[in-house]
């Protein structure tokens, strides 16, 4: 009766300490479910088969969890070590938060001793690092660029846009000619698609002073970016009634299904396009900036694989992590899904084979940006502060200034905590 023993005192906290290091049994793995997940599953099944062959008496149970509701799920896992998985895939924006929550295991030692790690590109390595310690292995780099329909552009005599203004203009032209198509598919909940607009206008999500962050989303420049993005919602491009609630995956899905002339998608979305109606009819260019020749700073996204602190199979879990984040898997994932490898040599190798990645590599080289490296970001993200802001503007509940001010207030509250 653990429950009654606790009566009277504060609710218990979880004991996240590792419980031994078993060498057999079941390893649980959580990976993200992507749009068009099948090829990813096939690659992972291969990895699992290799791994199980190498380690007798070990079974690996892989689950694919939805990205949108990952916060609840992963929190549940942190709160109950007994039922938590051993290895998880996580977005690099969550690293700081998960480490602060005490969920991820420090694998600095193993990472340091890992042959392949020296080839990892510095940005990717940074994304698993908190205060000098590594909490996982990078899995892929995710940058977003502008997908467009080559056939539609040809029919309408359009050229890939060279500035952000042209993006909007082109979008409206497409919509005007094709009433059942969005010009540029945008989503009110697509934060990472909206960020380049803010950054291109010189805005920032937050300002960093020492260790402290304060919201920058309500600055004049940021507001210009917000305005530019939210103006894309409307009957002349992407009707608010449908687009306000869409997230990144929905916009990709819309483009892949032939319902949009352009979309902001990642390297990791290629397979969804190949499986969709637009196969063979699309091209990719970097999302342009304000001036011709500029590239809008993209969000340096990407996912990592990490080991949970509470795992009872630490050695095995780390082995599996290396296997999943290793060069061979990354190459296979690139071929299957278009995930850009995090190892510089692997990336060069695939770039030569596959011209598709060029716009993404160019975007990477032009300089990328990241979300505030604060544990509070996880909460800001999970509380949907930025999507809420976009949606309020798009649906006319608030103007840009009011919504941005409110969002900044909420962000500041989260930073202070």
């Amino acid at each position: 009766m653990a429950g009654s023993a606790l009566a009277g005192c504060a609710p218990s906290t979880s004991d996240d300490g590792a419980k031994g290091d078993e060498k057999s049994g079941k390893l649980r793995v959580w990976l993200f479910r992507e749009v068009g997940n099948k090829p990813k599953e096939e690659v992972v099944d291969n990895v699992v088969r290799r791994f199980e062959k190498k380690h007798k008496d070990v079974t690996v149970d892989v689950q694919y969890i939805p990205v949108d509701s990952r916060a609840e799920k992963i929190k549940g896992a942190f709160n109950d070590p007994d039922s938590a998985p051993d290895v998880i895939e996580y977005g690099n924006t969550d690293t700081a938060g998960y480490v602060a929550d005490g969920g991820l295991a420090d694998v600095s030692e193993e990472f340091g001793g890992w042959e392949a790690a020296k080839d990892a590109d510095p940005t990717a390595k940074e994304s698993v690092t908190v205060k000098g310690k590594q909490y996982g292995a990078p899995l892929f780099v995710g940058v977003r660029a502008l997908y467009y329909r080559t056939d539609v552009f040809k029919d309408l005599g359009l050229k890939p846009p060279k500035t952000l203004d042209e993006v909007a203009g082109t979008a409206k032209k497409i919509r005007a000619e094709n009433k059942d198509m969005y010009g540029l598919a945008v989503g009110g909940a697509y934060t990472y698609g909206a960020m380049p607009f803010i950054w291109a206008h010189g805005g920032e999500l937050a300002r960093e002073r020492g260790d402290e962050f304060s919201a920058g989303i309500d600055s004049a420049k940021a507001r210009k970016g917000i305005k530019a993005y939210t103006e894309l919602f409307g009957d002349d491009n992407c009707p608010a009634g449908k687009c306000a609630k869409m997230g990144g995956n929905e916009t990709v899905e819309a483009f892949a299904g032939g319902k949009a002339g352009m979309a902001i998608g990642g390297d990791f979305n290629r397979q969804a396009m190949e499986d969709g109606k637009v196969k063979g009819d699309y091209g990719v260019v970097p999302l342009p900036g304000l001036k011709e020749g500029d590239i809008a700073p993209a969000f340096a996204g990407g996912n990592n694989v990490g080991v949970l602190k509470s795992t009872s199979h630490r050695t095995l879990a780390v082995e599996l992590m290396k296997e999943l984040g290793g060069k061979q898997t990354q190459e296979e994932l690139f071929e299957a899904m278009g995930f850009l490898p995090t190892f510089t040599d692997t990336r060069e190798k695939v770039a030569q084979k596959e011209p598709f990645v060029k716009p993404f590599v160019r975007t990477l080289d032009a300089g990328t940006k990241f979300v505030p490296a604060s544990p509070a970001w996880g909460e800001i993200d999970a509380s949907m502060i930025l999507p809420g802001m976009f949606q309020e503007i798009v649906s006319g509940q608030q103007d840009v200034e009011g919504a941005a001010g409110e969002a900044a207030k909420k962000m500041d509250e989260a930073f202070v905590k």
Partner: protein
């Protein structure tokens, strides 16, 4: 036409003579006809969502995602059901749901039966207080308790297992079950009890061999509510079944189809059908008693 009128007329006369308002028959008839047409129209509207659910479950994928939905299908297909049953271990989830709901129903019925007997057939101190407690307990917003319940289940080590679904639902369905059962227990005449004791029956014997069979139909009706709330649950299933997919329940499987970027409507409707049919059968079987039970809960 005329024949029908005669038949109708004959029946009306009989009814009206019996109720003694035959005078008004000419005025009432068109009114009643309108009322009946209205009732049938309402019935169609009310039944339509269920009809559409089953229909869409049987429509081939192309027709479900058609821009011009029609209320029939000429080529029914089992594809959606096939997708549903291939989704993970659907049969297993179904079995889990049955197991969880079944355990809750049986346990809550037994416990509620005892408690209802205590509060209706005995007079003791704190009886009224207890009744008010049972009433107030129905008000508790179950979802708000997810938080402490999560920690409680964790401390029991029950998370990730079906026990973590059974226990909370047992607690949440008890107050209403006791409340509703009181009417049924009360309806058993006191004389019967006295007769039993005169015949030398022990209290336990009376309880299980005389009272229980008499109350049983009411118990079944009461169980519908425990059954539905448990069958329906996705919040606890979602929060408490953290990583053991094999312990998932039906609503979780349903939401997999629904949550995707573009919902697989055929799959959602097929899964919904599979989820609804057992409850529907249960309901139709017990609905008469249900009504009387709710009447009993009046007090």
């Amino acid at each position: 036409m005329s024949e029908a009128r005669v038949v109708n007329g004959g029946r009306t006369v009989a009814v009206e003579r019996a109720t003694g308002v035959g005078v008004r028959r000419w005025i009432r008839k068109p009114w009643r006809l309108a009322a009946e047409v209205g009732a049938l129209l309402i019935a169609v509207v009310v039944a339509f969502p269920l009809y559409w659910m089953v229909l869409s479950a049987f429509k081939p994928a192309g027709e479900v995602r058609s821009e011009r939905p029609v209320p029939w299908t000429l080529s029914p297909s089992l594809d959606s059901f096939r997708r549903v049953f291939e989704q993970g271990d659907f049969a297993r989830y179904f079995a889990n749901s049955v197991l969880v709901a079944g355990s809750v129903v049986v346990a809550s019925a037994l416990i509620a039966f005892l408690a209802a007997t205590a509060v209706t057939r005995f007079r003791f101190r704190l009886r009224t207080t207890l009744l008010i407690l049972f009433l107030a307990a129905q008000m508790v917003p179950v979802e708000a308790l997810t938080i402490p319940m999560f920690f409680l289940m964790r401390d029991f080590g029950a998370l990730n297992s079906l026990v973590s679904l059974i226990l909370p639902h047992l607690a949440f369905s008890l107050p209403f079950a006791i409340w509703m059962l009181r009417g049924f227990v009360k309806a058993v005449p006191e004389a019967l009890e006295e007769q039993a004791f005169i015949d030398g029956a022990s209290r336990t014997r009376f309880l299980w061999q005389i009272l229980f069979p008499l109350v049983f139909p009411g118990l079944v009706a009461t169980s519908v509510f425990s059954f539905i709330s448990t069958w329906n649950d996705f919040l606890f299933a979602k929060s408490f079944i953290i990583s053991e997919v094999e312990n998932s329940t039906l609503p979780m499987a349903l939401l997999v189809f629904f949550d995707a970027e573009t919902p697989d409507w055929g799959g959602v409707m097929a899964a919904s059908t599979v989820m609804t049919v057992p409850v529907l059968i249960f309901f139709v079987c017990v609905h008469r008693r249900l009504v009387s039970g709710l009447g009993g809960a009046v007090k």
